[in-house]
Symmetry: C2
Amino acid sequence: MTFKEGLHNKAVDIEKALDRFFVSDKTKFDQQIIEAMHYSIASGGKRIRPILLMEIGKLYGVKESDLMPFACAIEMIHTYSLIHDDLPAMDNDDYRRGRLTNHKVHGEAMAILAGDGLLNYAYEIMAQTAFEKQEPKYVRAMFEVAKAAGHKGMIVGQVADMVSEDQEGDKTTLSFIHENKTGQLLTVPMLVGGILGNAEENQIKLLKTLGHHIGLMFQIKDDLLDIESTQEVLGKPIGSDEKNNKLTYPSLYGVQASYDLLETLKSEAIVIVESLPGDKIFLKDLIDFLVYRNN
Amino acid sequence: MTFKEGLHNKAVDIEKALDRFFVSDKTKFDQQIIEAMHYSIASGGKRIRPILLMEIGKLYGVKESDLMPFACAIEMIHTYSLIHDDLPAMDNDDYRRGRLTNHKVHGEAMAILAGDGLLNYAYEIMAQTAFEKQEPKYVRAMFEVAKAAGHKGMIVGQVADMVSEDQEGDKTTLSFIHENKTGQLLTVPMLVGGILGNAEENQIKLLKTLGHHIGLMFQIKDDLLDIESTQEVLGKPIGSDEKNNKLTYPSLYGVQASYDLLETLKSEAIVIVESLPGDKIFLKDLIDFLVYRNN
């Protein structure tokens, strides 16, 4: 099995698990909100966050079924953030991943509620899991997710990104935006994987650094693709960062320096991965994929 | 001390506790989102949900400090739901409790994020408390809150309310809307109070019925005030339900039958309250207040 096949299979596993969370009680209203929530959950994407969580957890010997609720919860939080980001009052996007955005299909009010519903459901699922397992590590994992997704995590990153548009940018602001807006929710799967795997505290620290690096690599690569890819390959218009006066790594550091930074981060990430227990082949391939992907 | 003074003091205690959760790290962006979140938290209101939680918990001998994080979390969830309900895409309200709504002051994008931030923060606070206490009852309480606030609870109630506007209504739909939209978040404080108080399961069932009754009384009274009060006393325009073709108890059952229902519910609620342990004087006064209030 090639890496790409493996990645695809893992994404399919996540999607099957996600689908099982969206079963209606068959009341009319229940069906409407579940349909709106599921529309965006089923809109594809790389499923990087849940896959990272599963991979790290498995390195520490955790059963897939014990990891899956948290993997799905984090994907729901990621999805809610996309639905709300796409709203007319925010980025006002009509398309995402080649499909109409949630509010274009379900209306703006329902899209707001679908986002709210997904965020809340993520915590419902984690709380239920923590209650059933009766082990403090599940509560700790949930607390970490809440911090990462919150107003001192992902949300403040979104605020910073929004407020900084069309402003003279600096490197500190750029780091702040990306460490929070995308970095937090790419880091927390590593933390949760380690926490549920009973990793030592020093290992959890390393996982946090690894998550930070992966988040940054992901963002720099995104910035570079927005300049150097084509609409056909990327599936969305290129050049949108420049058009929207977004702060990006290439715009502040230059293209070559961004590639160099990407390589440095990748080398450091691989060193950390090598120090982890278990079979790291897929995880290393995944890091390569994130750095060398073309969409 | 009169009941009104007692109620006021309890609301002030909740507000002081809430305020302590909104301290900025002094980064520019952090201050902006915290300000937007705190704007609506500080916008007054009766603080009925947290007060109910504290009162029930205290009947079972729980320390105030052990109840307060959950009381604040539920008030944050209530507040986020108001911010999102007021948005232009939803009810498009410019004023709430005599102050400009969140999006009129902070802009629509920031109001969406402030709502998201409050919802997420509620779970962060509950998860932190549950992690620090290391007792399963805190996790159970959090799970109950998540179910009540979620897409099979408060959110589906909002969906039903939205979808039913301007439609031929029936009593089943009316019950469904209110049991979910307002009922769930008025019931769950009773549940949490009982759960944190180690109440027996049969008592928790009674508390759930009591919460259901309080929620319904609250709603019927709101519907009646919208017909019979004045803008001066109510602090907002009256007659808005009729104008918006909302399903209400008076419109479906008639005014007198609504008053009768209110009295029946109140008698049943008082019977349950009498069966609870501890000093129930304030709780009984509170129920009277909810039924006979004029705003």
